[in-house]
Symmetry: C2
Subunit: 361 residues, 2 copies
């Protein structure tokens, strides 16, 4: 893998966020406690099996292992936002590990979810279930309006949302703002079926902050803006105190739509009713919450908030611009396959909420 | 907790399926390797902290720890049916541990999901999300037919499905077949809000095997039969080669309905198309697959198969017998609260499938 070596040489290697002495393949554990004795760029440097020591299941000398679970050979998806639970994936190989000027990245080969991308220790995407997130965050907004033409994607550097936008033949222009060129390169190298979105000639890539881009965007330009930059968005996130969403509204045409990732139904960390109230005031159109099952994410679901601006009314729950995945030619774009997850029935169903969630909103 | 002691005295204590030296509360680990040195009835007998040894993260002397992940102080939901992934719950306390003549049981206090019931090492129910499973497996069949009167529950000894059946005022008689009296006692002691279902005077408890009960059931008796006995049902399970489902059909009235737990959308272990084909031949009415999000179950979702017998046609996707949870008086039964999860919109939405699953069925 020449390109991997090139990537590894280009970027300063970071530290492992999973146990440094994690097992590679079926050979069992490779010994040593801390990072200094352990592995290098994800390849275990000491293949002899040694007894597991206390350090092996502890991140450091504090008693934080109970709060921050780790096991050699497994990646632990654990977030203090959802304490007391962790999803472990068995890892066959560390395919890439590196650090850009912004963030730490790993590409892992898992046994159950295929390749996995990990950003600053948090699971971002797996080959197994990326279809659910990418297709829903894209087609929920784009299928809710007739003939979207100009789309802005903020974040989403992996390219999967671009791949999904590409299925819409009405679209003439796609802007994407992604801060981190290295992230794009890593996805292009290891997840070509995801990063294929960049091959669409309608795509214009802007390596810059989305807020900066919005500041200079012409008013009323976009039919749809998809925000995939804050993962997860937290109540104290700076965007809530900033004019970010006002700029989104300004950049949208009348009756334009925005979609942003929201929280899990089961473990709310945001004050969603408050957020919906705020969005109603800012966007002045429809505001709806939808959700989809994504097994690799905490609690197995992820939410989306959909907002439309003043103008032609948008009913997000009833798609007016269907993607017929049986008509492959019309819904491929640069993708190699029709959508795996999204269809018009799932679109409408995703707005149906369990009573406990419906009553909260 | 006198009743706990009574339970523990009544039944032969079993072995821990999670690490014997798991931490109790915030005191950290208590030492010792194997069961013989470790805990007793779920209460850690040696409170002094000792270094973790290799045995602590291994079930035995083989190298199976990579396949069978364990961490002190955490419960690992791991099944060879879905290898390469595990869901960990942080445990504060082991509230009960014991073994009946049939199976091993534990009641754990988790930090994120409340109390958790573990049967033969597999997570069965959590306080956090039991509403989703219990309400859906009950109301999907019962709300699909007008005025159900006689209902048979096979398994479901926890009482939660009884609690849900109890919300239906049209029901005059509820039979439940549960093999294991100890399981019922443990639920009554630790999960009173679940086991409350037994307080409904319409309930008749039969401590016996469901197949035996069905053999002597009068033909055409039941409007609905709910099967919660096989968890999970596996392709090689004996029921598929037995006359079990023929007996279910015989015990149902014309146009009667059955609901049984099926598999996860994401990790199919059954040949669902084959099973649906078989059920169509046996039941001769409608056969539909539905699903619901249950975060504590593997991959965060669980499926249901719904079948109706020859007779008045049943359209499972459109409930004809709605439970209006805003009209609390009419949908409480012995439950203390209205349904938390089920509503008519979720009912219909649960039959909408992602394209990859829809195309498979």
């Amino acid at each position: 893998m020449q390109a991997v070596e090139k990537l590894q040489q280009s970027y300063r290697p970071g530290t492992f966020l999973i146990s440094d002495n994690m097992a590679i393949g079926d050979e069992g554990k490779c010994g040593g406690g801390g990072k200094e004795k352990g592995s290098e760029n994800g390849v275990c440097s000491d293949a002899s099996a040694k007894p597991i020591t206390e350090n092996d299941v502890r991140r450091d000398d504090s008693s934080s292992d109970l709060e921050n679970p780790q096991l050699p050979g497994w990646f632990a998806e654990y977030s203090p936002l959802w304490p007391g639970q962790a999803h472990f994936l068995k890892i066959e190989k560390v395919l890439f590990e590196g650090k850009s000027q912004y963030q730490h990245m790993m590409v892992l080969e898992s046994t159950a979810y295929g390749k996995v991308f990990v950003l600053d220790g948090a699971l971002q995407l797996t080959e197994k279930d990326e279809c659910a997130y990418q297709e829903m965050i894209t087609h929920l907004p784009l299928c809710s309006i007739p003939k979207p033409q100009k789309v802005l994607l903020i974040g989403g550097g992996d390219g999967g949302i671009l791949r999904e936008i590409s299925r819409h033949s009405s679209v003439v222009h796609i802007d994407i703002c992604e801060m981190d060129m290295m992230l794009i390169d890593v996805y292009r190298e290891f997840f070509p079926e995801v990063a294929v979105g960049y091959e669409d000639p309608r795509v214009r890539l802007h390596i810059m902050d989305g807020s900066e881009f919005l500041k200079s965007a012409q008013g009323g330009t976009y039919d749809a803006i998809i925000v995939d930059a804050f993962d997860p968005i937290r109540p104290e996130h700076e965007i809530f105190g900033s004019p970010f969403f006002e700029m989104v509204v300004k950049a949208l045409r009348e009756g334009g739509v925005m979609c942003i990732q929201a929280e899990s139904l089961w473990f709310p960390s945001l004050n969603l009713p408050q957020l919906i109230h705020t969005f109603k005031n800012i966007f002045k159109g429809s505001v709806n919450y939808a959700w989809a099952p994504v097994p690799a994410y905490p609690s197995g679901v992820i939410g989306f908030l959909l907002c439309s601006t003043e103008g032609p009314r948008v009913d997000f729950t009833r798609p007016v611009n269907p993607l017929n995945h049986h008509d492959a030619a019309s819904s491929l774009g640069v993708a190699k396959e029709p959508p795996k997850f999204y269809n018009a029935e799932m679109h409408s169903a995703s707005f149906c909420l369990p009573s406990f969630a419906r009553d909260r909103l």
